[in-house]
């Protein structure tokens, strides 16, 4: 299945989500929190995409946008476009790139005729494939294909429902089988996630955190999805239990060829789980690469700092550490130019003025940083699918060059 030609499930392009800040006398519109500001990536079959970043950088919002749990301010995510359409989309978005770069308003040049035509064509494709153009009724069959496991297993399960009801409710909504068939399915699901059928007759409060998260996973699996957003699935769990849940997720993926978007702030877990990693900072993706590449050769200064900040459970390993100054700026008033420039150890004068373009710097390795102005010319900009194996970098991690040479 992972033979390099696996089909794309979702193509997200220029996703933006601004949450309005209201206040004052007539709760007038005071500004926007730019939670997600121009995020583009693909999700392919059977692949795990890691999404990392500090709290408040918009990770969860991206996950919710992909499932259309919230409507985007602009942008599209195309569900299973045919390969030729996907290639066409990529060329169209490449033409548009100079015009949609910063998203800061006013900095983009006026649209040329060519760009206008590209926009129209994207619009036409979007009518056919974009999630956000579907009516809620048309959306419903997709809801079963695109699922989510929430962060907090304590608040994401209804305390008034039996586990049986929690697991059969999605089936009932989608009119799958008769009632007895649904119960049988619930039993299977419970077994699949390593609980036993007796547990169906209990309430969520009778379970520990790890078990609840298993139930959350079972609920997501109920409708045989293709893609699951895992929104910090283990951050509320203890390490020993975390390992149980991670192993379960891996097994399920191997058995059913699921694609995951693995959202986490815990980089060690992301490294263990994902094939490809996106690094977000203040609503933007600053770097994207295959997992082993990203962890051994991080290019963006933020990624480098993030990686060097991970504590390594080995008291004998002493590392050079890049300490970032200060805190994450407010997404309501993001810094001008590159959003990282206020904390960047390698800041240059240009950084505070111009938003760096998102370029392919090495094969399959995208960075938005002025340190790497020369990208590989994007030829069709389709990223050949990763070979899908989990991190084959071997033991190189410990000696990884964490400080870039620039």
């Amino acid at each position: 299945m992972k033979d390099g030609t696996s089909a794309t499930i979702l193509v997200a392009r220029n996703l933006r989500k601004y949450f309005p800040i209201r206040g004052g006398l007539l709760s007038s519109h005071l500004g926007d929190v730019r939670a997600v500001d121009g995020v583009s990536f693909d999700i392919r079959e059977g692949e795990t995409v890691g999404l990392v970043g500090e709290s408040g950088c918009g990770k969860t919002t991206v996950g919710r946008l992909l499932l259309r749990l919230i409507e985007p301010t602009s942008g599209h995510s195309f569900y299973r476009p045919p390969p030729e359409t996907e290639a066409r989309l990529n060329t169209l978005y490449d033409t548009l790139r100079p015009f949609t770069g910063g998203g800061d308003g006013g900095t983009e040049p006026p649209l040329t005729d060519e760009a206008r035509r590209a926009l129209e064509e994207i619009d036409a494709i979007a009518d056919q494939y974009s999630l956000y153009r579907r009516s809620q009724r048309k959306m419903r069959p997709l809801r079963g294909k695109l699922q989510i496991v929430f962060q907090d297993p304590f608040s994401s399960l209804s305390p008034r429902q039996l586990i049986r009801d929690i697991l059969t409710e999605p089936l009932a909504i989608h009119h799958v089988g008769s009632r007895s068939e649904r119960y049988r399915r619930a039993e299977e699901l419970v077994k699949d996630v390593g609980l036993n059928p007796d547990h169906l007759w209990r309430f969520p409060h009778e379970f520990s955190g790890g078990q609840r998260q298993r139930i959350g996973v079972a609920r997501a699996l109920a409708l045989a999805p293709e893609f699951i957003v895992l929104d910090e699935p283990t951050s509320a769990l203890d390490v020993s239990v975390q390992a149980q849940v991670l192993n379960l997720l891996r097994v399920l993926q191997a058995e059913r060829g699921l694609a995951y978007l693995f959202i986490s702030h815990h980089l060690s877990v992301v490294r263990a789980m994902s094939n490809r990693v996106l690094v977000m900072y203040l609503g933007k993706v600053v770097e994207e690469a295959r997992t082993d590449e990203l962890f051994t050769r991080p290019l963006h200064p933020y990624t480098q700092a993030l990686l060097s900040a991970i504590p390594i459970p080995d008291p004998e390993l002493k590392r050079e550490r890049i300490l970032l100054k200060g805190d994450v700026p407010s997404p309501a008033a993001p810094p001008s130019g590159c959003r990282f420039h206020t904390r960047c150890p390698a800041v240059m004068p240009v950084c505070s003025k111009v938003d760096p373009p998102y370029l392919q710097v090495r094969p399959d390795h995208f960075v938005a940083c002025h340190l790497y102005p020369e990208g590989i010319p994007p030829k069709g900009a389709t990223i050949p699918a990763g070979d899908g194996q989990i991190a084959s970098a071997g033991m190189a991690g410990a000696e990884a060059p964490l400080v870039a040479s620039h």
Binding site: E54, S55, S208, G209, G210, Q211, D238, V239, S240, V241, Q242, A243, Q244, L246, N247, H265, H266, L267, S268, V269, R271, A272, T291, D292, F295, A305, L306, L307, S308, A309, I310, P311, I312, P313, D314, P315, E316, L317, R321, L323, L324, K325, G326, D327, V328, P329, T342, R343, I390, A391, A393, G394, M395, G397, A398, A400
Partner: protein, 550 residues
């Protein structure tokens, strides 16, 4: 706000070292008698500052008695960082709260054991508290006596809590009071624990020193000519020296910089600051009285410490001290604490404000004046955590209990805080109990580790030994289950099952239902703590070393 604006987010390189900041810290004499008995072991071993023996804390709930701590023993030596790890609900935080006696009673109660802080049992007198039951028909006299004893035992705790044992709480945003500014809350701790020192400074300051004019001008010149901050600092320090008031160094530094950045003449501002230092005769006498009260409280605290150490309560002595204190308080009629703070409020407030700014500088906060003026909700989690650390350290504690100080923070901020704590450890030399569930953090900061499981300490070892050769099956499982960013190949193994219910804990070894090596004996007896190798103790039947002595 205005002058600090240009570089708001960067850590200014001119933050002074904490050593310069808290010169008293290192020189702080162990005022209350001897340190703990010197250990018989190796020559280079530091004395034990905190010795927890067989601590038992139970929570009495409707469902039953939760045995949160069931015989926890460990030691912390001076200047040492001891990490404490374990899963949620294993009793890590309860240990910290028990040591400072912050367990809320009704539900919780420390039912046994001893916490020896520098040889004094902090838990002394607790049994009186535990006996107190205001039931119907009980003897009124007895109830009053119980009340008195409770009050006395809590008063004794004041001698230790905050001053000797500082604490950093888990959730930084909820640990601070939202309605007071940061400087206000820092000032409170400062006044409580270092009030006499602050008053001494105010009393000894020389605001009328004739040389001050020259010092001001020198400082203004240094700022104006854009000299490196070290020179400006030196000039500001000179101002402080001339006025015999160290906080004036900080104040004049920021005042001069702000004024010149705003294009104003700093001299009148500095003069105004000096005017605030001047004490009226009335204020002076208030301060002197206040000092005497504090000195008496210290005496009382010292005697409490001695009593806890001796295991006796010399009631006659305590009463006489209290009588003297009461006498001092009422001699003038107006000598209540509130009154004193009212009369000398301005200079005291100024002094504590700038002292808290100095404290904030010491923990590498870029714009300390701005942070000191702000309220907790205006600060980010990492910043509040820094303020908490400053607050815990403001009293120069011997022991710092850090209860998951970085759990609520992002990795990059966590790295900053860990760096700060490591730095402080080197400079201040406070012994730390670092509680966390993250073994990776332990590997970074701790020297020794206690692994806790379900209310027991199952293994204690030097951090290297634990990571190289964990002995207890639980420690082994815990280490094997961490995903490592530098070893992605590692197969994650997990410990089957989950943490047991502590109302009906498993008999014998509490880990046996999850243990891969469980033997019949594990089900019946609690394993003794045995010594394996140097300084490595483990509670497991797999190991047959000599039994550890308490």
């Amino acid at each position: 706000m205005a002058a600090a604006a240009p570089t708001p987010t960067t850590i200014s390189p001119e933050t002074p070292s904490l050593a310069a900041l808290l010169p008293e810290t290192l020189a702080k004499p162990l005022s209350e008698g001897t340190a703990a008995q010197p250990e018989a072991a190796g020559p280079k071993k530091q004395p034990v500052v905190l010795d927890v023996r067989d601590l038992k804390t139970y929570f009495y709930t409707y469902d039953g008695v939760v045995k949160a701590l069931d015989g926890v023993s460990f030691k912390i030596r001076r200047g040492e960082t001891v990490g404490m790890v374990g899963e949620t609900g294993c009793g890590k935080s309860v240990t910290a709260f028990s040591v400072t006696r912050l367990i809320a009673d009704p539900p919780g109660r420390i039912v046994g054991g001893a916490v020896l802080y520098r040889g004094a049992n902090v838990l002394r007198g607790l049994e009186h508290e535990a006996k107190f039951k205001p039931m119907k028909g009980s003897n009124r006299v007895k109830v009053r006596r119980s009340f008195r004893r409770i009050k006395a035992s809590q008063e004794r705790m004041v001698a230790v809590r905050g001053g000797g044992i500082g604490m950093i709480f888990q959730e930084p945003t909820s640990a601070m009071n939202p309605i007071f500014s940061v400087s206000n809350q820092l000032s409170e701790t400062l006044l409580l624990h270092r009030g006499d020192e602050i008053m001494d400074t105010l009393l000894q300051a020389t605001p009328n020193a004739p040389e001050r004019r020259a010092a001001f001008e020198e400082l203004a010149d240094a700022v104006r000519s854009g000299q490196p901050t070290d020179n400006v600092r030196a000039a500001a320090k000179k101002v402080g020296d001339v006025l015999h008031c160290p906080s004036m160094a900080t104040q004049s530094f920021y005042t001069a910089r702000e004024a010149i950045a705003a294009g104003r003449d700093p001299l009148p501002l500095l003069e105004r600051a000096v005017r605030r230092l001047r004490l009226s005769r009335l204020a002076r006498s208030y301060l002197l009285q206040q000092r005497r009260l504090i000195a008496l409280q210290k005496e009382l605290n010292a005697s409490y410490m001695q009593e806890m150490r001796d295991g006796t309560f010399d009631h006659s002595q305590r009463r006489s001290i209290r009588r003297r204190r009461v006498a001092t308080r009422y001699r003038g009629g107006w000598l209540s604490i509130r009154g004193i703070r009212g009369r000398a409020r301005k200079p005291l407030n100024e002094e504590t404000f700038w002292r808290s700014v100095t404290l904030l500088e010491g923990i590498a906060i870029a714009n300390p004046v701005q942070v000191a003026r702000s309220y907790p909700h205006e600060l980010s989690g990492g910043m509040i955590q820094r303020v908490m650390i400053a607050m815990a350290l403001s009293a120069n504690p011997d022991i710092l209990l850090a209860d998951e100080p970085t759990t609520a923070l992002d990795v990059t901020i966590q790295a900053q805080i860990l760096e700060l704590m490591r730095d402080l450890k080197e400079r201040v030399g406070t012994a730390t109990l670092f509680i966390t569930h993250d073994l990776a953090v332990i590997a970074e900061v701790a020297e020794r580790v206690c692994v806790m499981y379900a209310g027991h300490v199952v293994e204690t070892a030097a951090v290297r030994d634990l990571f190289r050769q964990p002995l207890h099956p639980y420690s082994q499982g815990l280490l094997a289950s961490i995903p490592r960013v530098d070893q992605p190949e590692k197969q994650l193994s997990s410990i089957k099952g989950s943490v047991p219910n502590l109302i009906t804990p498993p008999p014998g070894c509490r880990f046996h239902p999850r243990c891969a090596y469980a033997m019949p004996i594990c089900r019946e007896q609690r394993p003794p703590t045995t010594v394996e190798g140097t300084d490595h103790t483990v509670a497991c039947f797999l190991y047959k070393g000599p039994v550890a002595v308490e």
